[in-house]
Amino acid sequence: MASLEIVNIKKRFGDVEILKGIDIAVEAGEFLVLVGPSGCGKSTLLNMIAGLDTVSEGEIRIGGKTVNALHPSERDIAMVFQSYALYPNMSVEGNIAFGMRMRKVPKEERERAVQEVAKTLQIDHLLQRRPAQLSGGQRQRVAMGRALVRKPRIFLFDEPLSNLDAQLRVDMRTEIKKLHQRLGATIVYVTHDQIEAMTLATRIAVMRNGELQQLGTPAEIYSKPSNTFVAGFMGSPRMNLLPGLLRVEGNDWRLEIGIEGTPAARLPLGALPEAVRAYSGKEIIAGLRPEAVTDHGEADGATRAVVDAVVEVTEPTGPDTLAVLELGGREVTARLRPDTALKPGDHGRFAIDLAKMVWFDPATGARVV
């Protein structure tokens, strides 16, 4: 049975529709990440699950029970906020125990529960401190402690890492993932950071303008993005989207990439799926991840196409070097070996892994295959 069901949820503020009918079912133990640019409605959706925002239309079910009309405290959820939202006038212990005090849990039981959670999160030495006396990472742990102690059916995270510095963010990310694996908890997590989404999620829901763009595992989202928006949003550096003309001569298919005024670059293609062949003689968008464009000699022979291009910029990142190539007047990001000798202005020969290529319809932006 699904732990959380979001059924055709809509949200309106006056005439403005913020959410346009969202359907998601989350199984118990899943880690669902809602991701999208700011203003896409992901935080509104989370607030509606929590009961902090009203539902205009549709239904939210938790554990099979419709909770639309229930107070946030009765929904069997816990939430971790971006600002941590720790009560400044209470100690760490007071913060973690506040919910239990509101529910009139006996003092002994409260203390036992606080101790247990504090040990799990390694904050038992901080229990008597005030939030103001804690570092960012410690506050983050306390905020998680406050959620954990409720033992809820669903954990809701609202951009919990965005106030931390880069190093700590990566550490806490790992810790949240460990916590999820250890507890087997059901988590709905909101972020605008696609790397957080990729690393944490068992499933990702990509949203834009109040609509669900794609719902799938990180691998699906990454390798088979449902449209050009998802393709461009997920992954860093972004997927290369190359509009071009699909041509066929005999049995040789090729993509002619170019903008007016520059000679077109010809990309030889191997065998193509039926759906793509239907675009013969028409415009189509080819999607290529940077790692599918590599040094000559890297990709497998069978699905490899070779192109010549000029290097515009190189960006060494350590494990590999990113290079922006010029191909038929368009920019293509390639992921090269870290020891590449290519410099800006150099002509080079590059390999493209055609097996990793995806195709989009230029009119709708939807993926063809």
């Binding site: 902090l52 919910g99 406050r146």
Partner: protein, 302 residues
């Protein structure tokens, strides 16, 4: 030529820095500060000195002369036996009138202002901004305009000429200001804390009492100082809505000073005026350091 130049440089460096140029700025600044401090403190000094002199000394000598003979008798008489109107029991009764009136009016107006601010910022409803605008408008209504309607209202409620009546007037008038203060302070109070408390199971009043109120000290101090000084120092409402024994301190002080019988006991008048001013002074000393801090709070955000 080169030699001459070297000599002059050497002379320059031999001169101690302080003598090179006279720095006027500190003298000007401290001089001005001292002068204005004197201007402000002089009346207080005259009051204090007059209140500890025997009456004979005041009538014979200059008003600012140092006391020949120190006495606290004027203070004792002002407190316990000077004549206010027709009764001669000192100002103590009126002092307690003022204390009761001020304490109750301050507590009630602050508490309601807090609740108003909470509702106007954290439980926003349709028309909340219009309502707040109307409340704000109340801050600009001159006292004189409400005198007659208020007198009628107090009469109908059976609270005319009583301390509860004055408390009511001051609460009504103070609400606009206390609401403004708390509303602006709570605007900057993070909404996520309210959300977290809701998820933790707190409802309307438990969020207010356990989350908002404990984090409101700076603005409470500001409001209390503001309300305390205004209500304690008020004369117009006191003179309009009270009579005889129920009058507050300020009205009684006027009756002491404006007496038309016997000789004018300036020392007793000064002592009475000092007693009337002491509570506000005390409130400033105790809460003053929060005052500026609280006024600034919330001004950065929202």
């Amino acid at each position: 030529m080169t030699g001459a130049k070297t000599t002059s440089m050497a002379q320059y460096w031999d001169t101690p820095p302080a003598a090179r140029r006279i720095r006027w700025a500190p003298f000007v600044i401290y001089g001005l500060l001292g002068f204005f401090a004197l201007v402000y403190l002089l009346p207080l000094a005259v009051m204090l000195l007059t209140s500890v002199k025997p009456l004979t000394e005041i009538y014979s000598g200059s008003i600012i002369s140092w006391p020949q003979q120190w006495t606290i008798d004027p203070w004792v008489r002002a407190w316990g036996s000077t004549c206010v109107g027709l009764s001669c029991n000192g100002i103590k009764g009126y002092f307690w009138n003022s204390t009761k009136m001020t304490v109750f009016a301050v507590i009630i107006s602050t508490a309601i202002g807090m609740l108003n601010g909470y509702v106007l910022t954290k439980w926003r409803f349709k028309g909340a901004n219009v309502l707040f605008g109307l409340i704000l408008f109340g801050c600009f209504i001159p006292f004189q305009i409400v005198l007659i309607p208020m007198a009628t209202l107090l009469g109908k409620m059976g609270m005319a000429s009583s301390t509860p009546g004055l408390v009511f007037v001051h609460v009504v008038y103070g609400l606009c200001f206390t609401t403004l203060y708390f509303r602006n302070y709570y605007m900057a109070f993070p909404d996520e804390l309210i959300k977290a408390a809701m998820i933790d199971g707190a409802r309307f009043f438990s969020i207010f009492l356990r989350i908002l109120v404990p984090n409101s000290l700076p603005i409470v101090v500001v409001t209390v100082i503001w309300q305390f000084t205004n209500i304690w120092n008020d004369f117009l409402f006191g003179a309009s809505f009270s009579t005889g024994e129920s009058a507050p301190m300020t009205v009684a002080l006027n009756n002491v000073v404006n007496t038309s019988t016997g000789e004018r006991e300036y020392n007793v008048h000064m002592a009475a005026a000092m007693i009337a001013a002491l509570p506000t002074l005390l409130v400033y000393i105790v809460g003053g350091r929060y005052f500026v801090r609280g006024l600034m709070a919330g001004s950065v955000k929202g």
